[in-house]
């Protein structure tokens, strides 16, 4: 159980995290979602007491992180796969972590086995691929067999097999009753793994909801219509009290009316339809709409004209 209360972080003029309050519960995977620069990593670093909050507090099972005397056995975290000394072998990297928390050295072999790095245990991690680095980072997180696990963008740079492995790992960890908190900027990834969603944008909380609720409320379903007699079709629908939106390319979109009803209506008036298809907006679109106002780094299709650099600060 992680409780975040009124957490804020200011870097100079920029408020990177703005009064965040939410809870991460055991037994489920909680997704921490937001566009790049939303403050996800900063929030996670504050959870681990690496960054000092400007205001607010984080409690891990009711305690401050600094008060956990053997933190690896409470919280396992993967912040950055590259957060290790490349000159040290995978085995020694994990060994020094285990020793600092009084964890028996035999655990090192076990977690190396879990993540499938036993064969390269004695190799220096400098030569590891990004995916192997992620696995080593996860091995470090699992070392203390903790109740709480935190992963910052764990699927970044992984191949499909690795992504599949991480998804299943997170689900099985949650199924064992652990608290799993995972950040991502990809809605589609979260839709596959998370049971609960915490969405932030520009450091502010945008949504704190179960995945099912998020899908229900945010995935707009509509019917797309195309007809050579578009004007007549529009009049007919209008007379029936149905709101129509013209969506370019000669298509019409109707919200909240079943496609069967629309088809029958067109048939009654002997209108030719070239398309009558129920559509569902993707979660990715829903996410983009939710965070539209708070995306830090917009890509512009045209070169910016004399506006200068709009935003300051960065992901770190």
């Amino acid at each position: 159980m992680i409780e975040v209360a009124g957490l804020s972080k200011r870097y100079g003029q920029k408020l990177a995290v703005d009064d965040l309050t939410f809870q991460v519960r055991p037994g489920i995977v909680t997704g921490f979602l937001g566009p790049n620069g939303a403050g996800k990593s900063t929030t996670m670093r504050m959870m681990l007491d690496l960054d000092r909050p400007t205001a607010g507090a984080v409690r891990i099972d009711g305690k401050r992180y600094t008060d956990l005397k053997d933190p690896l056995t409470y919280v396992g975290a993967l912040l950055d796969a590259k957060a290790l000394h490349g000159g040290r072998s995978a085995y020694n990297h994990l060994l020094c972590l285990a020793q600092s928390n009084g964890i028996p050295a035999s655990r090192v072999g076990e977690v190396l086995d879990t993540v499938g790095l036993t064969a390269v245990a004695k190799k220096r991690s400098k030569g590891f691929s990004l995916g192997m680095g992620q696995r080593l980072g996860i091995a470090g997180a699992l070392l203390g067999d903790p109740q709480i696990l935190m992963f910052d963008e764990p699927v970044n740079g992984l191949d499909p097999e690795g992504i599949h492995w991480i998804r299943n790992l997170m689900k099985s960890l949650a199924a064992q009753g652990r608290t799993v908190f995972v950040s991502s900027h990809l809605m589609s990834e979260m839709a596959l793994t998370a049971d609960h969603l915490v969405v932030i944008g520009q450091g502010r909380l945008l949504a704190d909801t179960s995945m099912a609720d998020f899908i229900r409320t945010n995935s707009r379903s509509y019917v797309r219509l195309r007809s050579p007699q578009q004007e007549r079709l529009r009049d007919v629908l209008h007379q029936a009290g149905i709101t129509v939106v013209t969506a370019g390319n000669g298509t019409l979109e109707v919200d909240g009316v079943a496609s069967e009803q629309l088809g029958e209506l067109a048939a009654q008036h002997q209108l030719v339809l070239h398309e009558l298809s129920p559509q569902q907006a993707s979660l990715e679109e829903a996410f983009m709409q939710l965070t539209a106002g708070s995306v830090e780094y917009h890509a512009h299709s045209e070169p910016a004209s004399g506006q200068g650099w709009g935003s300051t600060g960065g992901e770190n």
């Binding site: 159980m1 809870q23 519960r25 055991p26 037994g27 489920i28 670093r45 681990l48 007491d49 690496l50 960054d51 000092r52 099972d61 009711g62 992180y65 600094t66 956990l68 005397k69 053997d70 933190p71 690896l72 056995t73 919280v75 975290a77 912040l79 950055d80 590259k82 957060a83 290790l84 000394h85 490349g86 000159g87 040290r88 020694n92 060994l95 020094c96 972590l97 020793q99 600092s100 928390n101 009084g102 964890i103 028996p104 655990r107 076990e110 879990t114 470090g140 067999d145 903790p146 109740q147 099985s172 199924a175 064992q176 009753g177 652990r178 608290t179 049971d195 704190d208 909801t209 179960s210």
Partner: protein, 285 residues
């Protein structure tokens, strides 16, 4: 995982009773738990320092300089070259002075490489007490440096004494081995503190080399100027002449003795380590 799974109540909805969570802490680990102590941190830092190549390289260079230069001097000189009343042990000075450089480099790297690689975030996640991490690093590094330097200085003193002869006293032998090793360990510790403050390898190493060499160079430039007071001060308290004190040689008459040299370096190191403890506790990583 080798751990048995523990089926738990599902917390599917947001409305789960919040006040009850402590009773339902979910997963319970079979890994034996005990509170981590400074001893654990020391074991961890020992694993760290022995498992990177820079430790091996820097100490190898240090040993090569101390033993190599000492042996060369022993070969180049004969017993007749030794001035009466001077001990051959004192000729080990040049090698040790140069050997300080790799020790300082290692001292800086012991902490700054953690910042450079990002390892520090992993380290502090595992051990949130930053004072304990820095303390364990300082103890392990200083102890290792002392032992390695003691081996080097003892060997080189024995080689010089054996081949060049001359008289030596127990006190001089002690200062040239144990005293010098303690002094070198303190300089290394000072470098570690500077590395912790700057968090940048190249910058801290450059600063430390300047700290050792600059006062002496400056003093040479001041030779023609009327600032004799400052020149004497720089000559007396520069690292090379402070190190010379341990061998019974000094550039200036009435320069401080061995205990005083250790005291000065110890005080300086204590101040900078204290500063490092203070600053790193307030910084974001």
């Amino acid at each position: 995982m080798t751990t048995p799974s523990t089926p738990q109540a599902q917390y599917g909805s947001v409305s789960a009773p919040e006040q009850q969570w402590q009773a339902q802490t979910g997963y319970v680990s079979p890994v034996p738990l005990r509170r981590a102590t400074l001893k654990d941190a020391l074991a961890s830092e020992w694993t760290k320092i022995r498992s990177v190549r820079s430790t091996l390289w820097n100490f190898a260079v240090m040993l090569a300089l101390v033993l190599g230069i000492g042996t060369l001097i022993a070969l180049a000189l004969s017993r007749r070259d030794m001035p009466p009343g001077e001990s051959a042990v004192a000729l080990g000075f040049v090698g040790v002075l140069l050997g300080i450089m790799p020790v300082m480099t290692l001292g800086v790297m012991t902490i700054s490489s953690e910042y450079g690689t990002g390892m520090i975030r992993t380290t502090l996640t595992a051990c949130p007490s930053r004072a304990r991490v820095l303390g364990a690093k300082a103890i392990v590094f200083a102890a290792l440096t002392f032992v390695v330097t003691l081996v080097a200085t003892t060997l080189v003193s024995a080689v010089l004494l054996f081949s060049l002869g001359g008289r030596t006293t127990g006190a001089l032998w002690g200062w040239a081995t144990v005293g010098v090793s303690a002094y070198v360990a303190l300089i290394g510790l000072f470098a570690l503190a500077v590395g912790a403050l700057l968090r940048h390898s190249a910058g801290a190493i450059t600063l430390m080399i300047g700290f050792v060499l600059l006062p002496l160079v400056l003093a040479l430039f001041l030779a023609a100027s009327p600032m004799h007071g400052l020149q004497d001060f720089l000559l007396e308290y520069s690292i090379p002449s402070q190190l010379g004190v341990f061998y019974g040689t000094s550039m200036v008459q009435g320069a401080p003795g061995g205990w005083e040299a250790l005291g000065i370096m110890g005080g300086l190191t204590a101040v900078f380590l204290g500063l490092a403890f203070f600053v790193q506790d307030r910084r974001d990583v």
